[in-house]
């Protein structure tokens, strides 16, 4: 069970400069825990604690097979072997 994760420039400090890493997990939250085990610090950049529990940060977009995970259940989104996950920071401001 392996999932390819595309890492944006700003988070490559956690992956030794790698543009893509592989991870494991049956859900997005399990995958992020697996990434954290190999690339400590990355989880904090993706997930924040809210009253209702942990959630993806508002200005980080995560896609599974080109679909925004916010439409797939967020951190509960299910993953399968061979899925492609892309992390992209929002481009936003005021």
């Amino acid at each position: 069970m392996s999932v390819e994760v595309r890492i944006p420039t700003i988070l490559r400090t956690y992956t030794g400069g790698e543009k893509a890493v592989s991870g494991e997990g049956a859900s997005l939250s399990a995958l992020i825990d697996d990434l954290e085990a190999n690339h400590p610090g990355i989880k904090e950049r993706l997930v924040e604690s809210k009253d209702a529990g942990p959630d993806l940060r508002r200005f980080v977009n995560v896609y599974v097979n080109d679909e925004d995970v916010r439409f797939l259940g967020g951190l509960d989104a299910e993953l399968s072997d061979g899925d492609q996950v892309v992390v992209l920071p929002a481009v936003a401001g005021g």
Partner: protein, 146 residues
Amino acid sequence: MLRIDRATYDAIVAHAKRDHPDEACGIVAGPEGSDRPERMVEMVNAAGSPTFYEFDSTELLALYKQMWANDEEPVVVYHSHTATEAYPSRTDIGLAQEPGAHYVLVSTREHGNNDGPVEFRSYTIVDGEVTEEEVDVVAALPPRSE
């Protein structure tokens, strides 16, 4: 320093004027590592707001996939301010997540949708630190040196 060709500069200004009083936003892509802003892409401001901008998440992915396929990166990330100066707001600084990009700010506060000069300024924003840089507008970028 940001070196940008006149046609791209004019197109960014035109986009900002057209979308006034809402903020306009987009990028100029270029070959990875080249620092050459070659291919401008206007983006829809999904926030549709005079005080905020955000690329639509689906369009954002499509844009990045296109850049990856072309071995490009965002050389310039631009947006407009429509009532304030062309300087990064606190929100801009907090949300800037492309440390290698030139962040271009255009202010349309003086003339809105009409003809007339605009402020056009460029910055790098790294770890919350804003550094203004010179903007050199050239008739055309020099040929690629490969």
